[in-house]
């Protein structure tokens, strides 16, 4: 039986409190709820449940174009097979305390033909393993301190590769305010950092570039267990919720929290056949598209 990897970042609990990396303004809470009190004055209930309240942009989730009010695709109508596709993993683990991930670092690791020779709806997704997920829940401040992807890299993805979505094991593809405040203004008091934090979402240029092109962004993956020699596989990133509208009025859903699993490409003769099928897929696509 082959190894299947769970790339979903866990919701970490400390007693009743949720402790995951997040902006201070974002809320997440978990409560235990008792139903049908059996005896007044006690905490005896017929059955127990939980209530979880969170912003959909927390934890492992896919950012949708609606985040910036681009509504080119109705998220209610995304077919389920959109979320099941082959993935390429780019290993770019290093120290990210200072420098953002640049195009030069990944150019040699990505073959554009693997994307451009397929119609866009058939293209694989591109996952970046930065190594940041080792800080998830262990050092949330450090996890939040991520310098992002350089503009040239984001533009390379948006205009040359055009995958349906990309994924990353970090808080964002853009430089976070925590990174800016901690790296540039280490001696400034917290109040000033909070003032800066108010501007947090005005600088999401990478998001803007990708989402305008309908390239979704899968953030906060947990890729710790993915070995360095695994670079291809099947990604299944299923949204936790399925929304549908009962009225004409559209509802803005800006992100889809996901459960993500990854199946590495088979080895041996089966893997060889998968690679041949991939070649056949390119040739057939070239004929019909």
């Amino acid at each position: 039986m082959r190894k299947i990897y769970d790339l979903t970042a866990p919701i970490c609990l400390e007693n009743d409190e949720v402790r995951i990396p997040k902006p201070k303004s974002a809320e997440i809470s978990l409560e235990l709820i008792g139903h049908d009190l059996l005896l007044s004055g006690t905490k005896l209930f017929k059955y127990l449940s939980n209530s979880i309240k969170f912003e959909v942009h927390l934890g492992t989730h896919i950012d949708l174009p609606t985040t910036f009010a681009y509504q080119s695709i109705d998220p209610f109508k995304i077919p389920v097979d959109f979320f099941i596709r082959e993935a390429y993993i780019v290993h770019v683990e290093r120290d990210y305390s200072k420098k953002s991930l640049t195009l030069d670092e990944v150019r040699e690791k990505i073959d554009p033909k693997e994307f451009t020779e397929l119609p866009r709806e058939r293209r694989p997704t591109l996952l970046f393993k930065t190594g940041m997920s080792r800080y998830w829940c262990r050092d949330n401040q450090r996890y939040m301190n991520f310098p992002g992807l350089s503009k040239s890299l984001v533009e390379f993805i948006a205009y040359e590769l055009e995958p349906p979505f990309i994924g990353i094991d970090a808080i964002s593809i853009d430089r976070t305010i925590e990174h800016r405040s901690l790296s540039l203004y280490t001696n400034i008091d917290e109040e000033f950092i909070n003032i800066l934090r108010m501007q947090e979402y005005t600088a999401l240029l990478g998001h803007d570039i990708l989402l305008r092109k309908n390239i979704y962004i899968l953030e906060n993956l947990d890729m710790r267990e993915i070995p360095s020699d695994v670079s291809r596989g099947l990604l299944i990133a299923l949204p936790l919720f399925r929304f549908t509208s009962l009225t004409e009025k559209s509802v803005l859903i800006t992100a889809l929290p996901c459960r993500v699993i990854f199946v590495p490409e088979p080895e041996g003769s089966v893997g060889e056949v998968v690679r041949k099928l991939r070649t056949l897929e390119k040739e057939l696509s070239g004929i019909v598209v």
Binding site: L234, V263, P266, V274, L277, E281, E283, L284, V288, V289
Partner: protein, 303 residues
Amino acid sequence: MMTNPISKRSRRLFTHFKALGSPIRFLIIYKMLDGRPYTKNEIVDYVSVLMGLPKTTVDRHFRTLLKYGIIKIAGKSIRDGEKGRKPLLYVLAVDSLTFYVNLFTYLLEGVTDKRMKLIEKNLNDIKTLLNAVDDIKLKLYLVGHEVSNEVISNLSKTLDSCVPVFSLVREAVRPRTFVADCENALELLSKTSANQIILKKISPDKMRELLYVALIESNIPIEKLGSLLGIKDMSRLVGYDDLWDVIEVIHHNDPTTILTLLTDNAKCTDAEASYVINLANNIIKYFSSSITHHDLIRLILTL
């Protein structure tokens, strides 16, 4: 409302068999779809009578289906107690992955065996194959280790033989590789000039446009193009319109003559090489954007 007795999946499979151009195999499966076990003789009798074919012919198709696991020995016939065959749906339920991989192999082999006639008839079948690729790939990812080595080996061999064929068709329909040197450009122009199917697609106006665009792109003097096209009196050539007027008179706008002259006269010097390369690539672009798939496939089959 009457419900359709044939499931959606079965109808899709029927399409596969129809696409293979074998009504005999189609009919065998259709007969067996009711879920009852049949003997081989029952099936052969039924189909041969219905289609007016020799039993040996039907028997051959029956054995093909058996070879690929599309039908299997699965029980006794109600009629005479011989070994019977159960239909497609039964096989699917027992070992769907092996069956599906076998069917896929069978379809691909059908494609190569028939020298692309399948595609020539109906490009929609390519879409069906593309869907099958998706299905097989997904299944191999998830449960590929459960497929026998023999089945994987057969699929691998089939892919080895059919991918180059599809590659050829794809290159004709959507060329990825353009001509890069003078020799290849001349070869393409030569083959084009010798192929009536393709020449019929180049109208005199289009020929005029193609020659003109290559002239602009390669920036060669008009006199040079004139000499390539066998025009001796250059004194009247001021602009391209003048050149075309002469071509109309002496070559009657005939693409065959024009392309033959070009391939005969071009010497692959820098300027001439640039012209023929540009012309060849513009012809490729024109073919890929304006000629039907059907024409292109016929073309590459004749090259």
